[in-house]
């Protein structure tokens, strides 16, 4: 087995297999490789594309004339369980493709995966979608069901499917996550359920698997605020050491028992404990001195105070070429909360960013403007939407941009900004009494409020949400007898979910005593998002 690189691997077999994601650039480079090595006709190549051989990919193989000895296969896998209540399709390229470039070829695969899910657990009686892409996935799900008509089980274990687009709530991406798993993801990059503890994530480096079913220690700390994690870990270390030491005073029978059963478990726990502690160390080293200041600034942005100092900080940091991704996140947070910057400030900051980090980021800033993350106030949105369009329905959904409710108003209407005037809120935030603890008490993830509303009452009052999101919200059939009954809920994110939001949904499920499972196209974090948008070539 070889890892894909720019040079062809030293093959020896006659049947050769490539396993690649459905990214055009990757497929193209392979096609060129194969064209050069066309000489030996006895070799058969098979290329498996996950999840689907897109027509553009097929066309590139066809145009380079290699289909004579190459067979293309699609492999559309189902949701992969990353943890006990987190399922992922691991399509990190979906966000850039669907939301940035508006090419939605992967949505069919999401619909397919949901259909397989239904084949196992029963058809969803009630589906609520929030966002345009979610609606498309729902429509495609319906199309697939009517075409293929697979056998569904009689009883549905999951009685509600809630789908959300990533771009409904950008604040969760832009704020620094403060749960243990969120912190690890932002600093050490979670890759398919693992974090790598060497600074470069090199091949032989130590890795830590973040899975609460196999790692008891992780299960205890994963959703906790980072300020309490280290204490917990040191307490645990002492406890484990004590349990090991007990054997000195026991009888032979007990010692034998201990060695055969408990010792192994304690040793493995100690190993994982050591890994967790070194992970904490790495994070603390990286964030020393900066984190507190950034958190303070984020709090100012959310509470709409000290904005002038905020802008001065941005100007100052760009002059010193402070960490690009952190600076971008702060700029975007300001823009999202204030519904865009005034023209003069926007142009000024735009220029400063280009002069400080390189002119090539002109495209980065353009993409951020397209996503609505960093834009000028009252500027006309992309003129495509203003053109007359044949499909009035599609235009209606997109015209939401012109009737768009500013994000701060949405926060106020939906009660996402906790009203904290007293100082003891800070401690409650950290201790995990209120769902906003995942962001240090300054913001409750929108998905938390949405799911709570959907589940709490028999006839949920989603009027606030309807006023905020208009056409983008489509509520499922409320009159179904299973609504509000005790059943499991699947919350599906299109575009990515942050681990802090997963933690807040965990909190909700504990509060309400309901089983909530989170499915997503991939996990995502603020730094990863900025890095992908700012990269030289965005390959989708």
């Amino acid at each position: 087995m070889y890892k894909l690189s720019s040079v062809a691997p030293p093959w020896k077999n006659l049947v050769r297999l490539y396993l690649i994601p459905s990214i055009y650039a990757v497929a193209e480079s392979i096609a060129w490789h194969l064209r050069k090595s066309e000489t030996d006709k006895t070799i058969a190549y098979h290329i498996i594309v996950v999840p689907k051989v897109l027509n553009v990919i097929h066309s590139v193989f066809e145009s380079l004339g290699v289909l004579d000895f190459v067979t293309l296969h699609s492999y559309s896998w189902d949701f992969i369980p990353l943890d006990s209540n987190l399922l992922s399709l691991e399509f990190p390229q979906l966000f850039n493709a669907s939301f940035l470039k508006e090419e939605n070829s992967l949505l069919t695969s999401v619909a397919k995966a949901l259909m397989s899910f239904e084949c196992l657990f029963g058809k969803f009686p009630c589906v609520t979608t929030l966002g345009e892409k979610s609606h498309r996935v729902h429509k495609l799900l319906g199309t697939w069901q009517s075409e293929i008509q697979p056998p569904f089980p009689e009883e549905s274990e999951f009685n509600h499917l809630i789908m959300l687009d990533r771009n409904i709530d950008f604040a969760s991406l832009l704020l620094t996550q403060l749960t243990y798993e969120g912190v690890l993801d932002e600093n050490l990059k979670l890759k398919s359920g693992f974090v790598y503890l060497d600074s470069d994530g090199a091949e032989g480096s130590q890795r830590l698997m973040l899975n609460s079913t196999s790692d008891e220690i992780y299960a205890e700390i994963k959703g906790k605020h980072i300020s309490v994690v280290f204490q917990h870990l040191s307490r645990k270390a002492k406890e484990l050491q004590q349990r090991r030491d007990i054997k000195n005073t026991d009888s032979i029978e007990e010692m034998k028992n201990f060695v055969s059963h408990d010792l192994k478990k304690i040793q493995s726990q100690q190993k994982s404990l050591a890994l967790h502690i070194s992970a904490c160390e790495m994070v603390m080293k990286r964030q020393a001195g900066i984190l507190e200041e950034l958190l303070g600034l984020q709090e100012d942005a959310m509470s709409d105070t000290k904005l002038k100092e905020y802008l001065v900080f941005l100007e100052d940091s760009t002059a010193r070429q402070f960490d690009f991704y952190a600076t971008l996140r702060l700029c975007c947070l300001y823009s999202v909360m204030e519904d865009g910057l005034p023209e003069k400030e926007y142009q000024f900051l735009h220029r400063q960013l280009l002069q400080a980090y390189g002119y090539r980021h002109l495209s980065t800033l353009h993409y951020l403007q397209r996503l609505g993350l960093f834009h000028q106030r009252d500027s006309k949105s992309i003129s495509l939407e203003l053109l007359p369009d044949r499909f009035a329905r599609v235009a209606q959904v997109n015209s939401l941009k012109s009737e768009r409710v500013p994000f701060r108003k949405i926060c106020q209407r939906l009660n996402l900004l906790p009203q904290s005037t007293s100082s003891d809120d800070n401690s409650s935030a950290k201790s995990g009494q209120h769902p906003s603890y995942v962001f240090g008490g300054i913001y409750t993830p929108l998905v938390y409020q949405f799911v709570e509303k959907c589940l709490k009452e028999k006839e949920p009052n989603l009027g606030d949400f309807a006023r905020c999101f208009g056409n983008n919200l489509r509520i499922g059939d409320c009159s179904h007898p299973q609504w509000g009954a005790r059943g499991k809920i699947l919350v599906c994110f299109i575009g990515g979910v942050t681990l802090a939001e997963v933690a807040s949904l965990d909190f909700l499920s504990r509060q309400l005593g309901r089983h909530i499972v989170v499915a997503t196209t991939s996990t995502i974090s603020g730094p990863a998002l900025m890095e992908s948008i700012a990269s030289q070539n965005i390959d989708t």
């Binding site: 055009y24 650039a25 689907k52 897109l54 027509n55 553009v56 066309s59 699609s74 493709a97 470039k101 508006e102 090419e103 939605n104 070829s105 949505l107 069919t108 498309r136 429509k139 495609l140 199309t143 075409e147 020393a288 001195g289 900066i290 100007e315 100052d316 940091s317 002059a319 010193r320 070429q321 402070f322 960490d323 142009q347 735009h350 400063q352 280009l354 002069q355 400080a356 980090y357 390189g358 002119y359 090539r360 002109l362 495209s363 353009h366 992309i382 003129s383 495509l384 939407e385 053109l387 007359p388 369009d389 044949r390 499909f391 599609v394 030289q536 989708t540």
Partner: protein
């Protein structure tokens, strides 16, 4: 009489016959517009109607003739036999499909609309790829103008195929000139670093002129070209042997990584400024590498200039104090551009600045409280002691004296305490 024998007719007879024949020839226009089958009929009618001695028999067209006629000219059948709905469905289900039967523009339009109605982007892409091959740009673009979902998908396809010029044209057609400019700008980076400057100049002179309302983008491109024009000579003409480059530069988390001469070309404007402040500090303004020249040409702000000059000088172990101070009111020095002293000191400590710097800057802080904390953090004992003395806080002085090691400072404290004239608070 002699001519009659040779020709067999008199001139008068010939003229009469000529007149008769001319009368019998039908109109010119009707002859040419009739298909050839009818032509053969009229020729035969010619022969039967005239009563001259010219007799020619026209036969009915034979079977062979009919087949040859069909082979020589047949109508091309552009009617499509499959329904767009069925074809779109087969593409959706992954079955094999053939779009080549959709030849007419109206059929293609119906096909595209059917794909858009289904809502699966991969199907739309399949149809668009077919239209890309079979329609000219001038026909395709108006079609896409009315269907912006399809337009977006098509732009994404063009980006993948690295056809940025066409993507830019489509965006310009859709009145999205900013995006068009960005596509053109991105296309310059695909040619590699050596050609970057050339490509930028090319698009600046040509394509960007045709787009409207892109002042920001065109100015960015111009500045980029100017920067590259400066960077090449600066990197080539480095005068000092730069031994210090081999040492690892100290960094602070608040500050970006400094750049060396090897990766100067292609770095950002402020990195270049910092480089020039390090190695070309004294260059006169007219030279390309002069920091002041750089500031003037690119119209940098005071803040941008002072930060980078400060960091540059610090990294070269030079005293940056002159850069930071300006004459405030009443001639007293103050920090220029209102930079935060806390920040300056933070960076200075990480980059191993001279302690003298701290002694000069800390007294400029407004509140004595802040002065106290800063001095304590950076171990500037004299300043701490002076603050405590001005607060008349004897107990803290004693505590501080016991906590430090420096003998001169301990003596200083003891001397101050011995002077009985001070009225201590505690």
């Amino acid at each position: 009489e002699h001519s009659d024998d040779i020709f067999g007719a008199t001139p008068l007879q010939t003229a009469q016959l000529s007149k008769q024949v001319k009368q019998n020839i039908p109109q010119q226009s009707s002859l040419t517009s009739v298909p050839h089958t009818k032509l053969s009929q009229s020729l035969s009618s010619l022969s039967t109607s005239s009563n001259s001695s010219f007799k020619f028999t026209a036969r009915q067209p034979s079977k062979q003739c009919e087949v040859t006629c069909k082979l020589l000219s047949s109508i091309v059948n552009d009617e499509t036999l499959s329904s767009p709905k069925d074809v779109v469905r087969s593409i959706f289900l992954g079955m094999s499909f053939d779009l080549s039967c959709f030849k007419k523009l109206s059929d293609k339009t119906v096909l595209l609309d059917e794909a858009l109605r289904l809502g699966d982007s991969d199907v739309i892409c399949a149809v668009l790829l077919f239209l890309q091959k079979s329609l000219h740009q001038l026909v395709l673009f108006p079609l896409l103008k009315e269907r912006h979902v399809a337009a977006r998908e098509y732009i994404a396809i063009l980006e993948k195929q690295k056809d940025f010029k066409e993507a830019a044209m489509l965006c310009a057609d859709l009145q999205n000139s900013k995006e068009a400019a960005v596509h053109l700008y991105n296309s310059c980076f695909r040619g590699g670093d050596q050609n970057l400057q050339q490509s930028l100049e090319h698009i600046s002179k040509n394509e960007l002129k045709n787009l409207k309302q892109i002042e920001v983008e065109s100015e960015t491109v111009k500045e980029h070209i100017q920067l590259l024009e400066r960077q090449y000579p600066i990197a080539v003409n480095r005068s000092l042997p730069h031994q210090s480059e081999k040492q690892k530069d100290k960094t602070s988390p608040c500050v970006g990584k400094p750049v060396s001469a090897d990766n100067l070309v292609g770095s950002s404007l402020l990195s270049t400024l910092q480089y020039c402040c390090r190695y070309n500090w004294d260059a006169p303004e007219n030279l390309l590498a002069s920091p002041v020249g750089l500031k003037k040409t690119f119209r940098l702000t005071e803040r941008q200039y002072i930060w980078n000059a400060f960091i540059g000088r610090l990294l070269m172990n030079e005293d940056p104090i002159k850069i930071l101070l300006v004459k405030g009111m009443f001639g007293a020095p103050k920090i220029s551009a209102n930079l935060s002293i806390t920040r300056i000191l933070e960076i200075a400590s990480k980059l191993n600045g001279n302690p003298n710097l701290f002694d000069q800057l800390i007294p400029l802080t407004e509140t004595s409280d802040k002065r106290y904390h800063l001095a304590k953090r950076y171990q500037r004992h004299r300043i701490v002691i002076d603050v405590l003395i001005s607060n008349k806080d004897r107990i803290s002085l004693l505590q501080y004296r016991d906590s430090i090691d420096d003998q001169t400072e301990i003596d200083y404290i003891n001397n101050t305490l011995r002077v009985s004239s001070t009225r201590w608070k505690n």
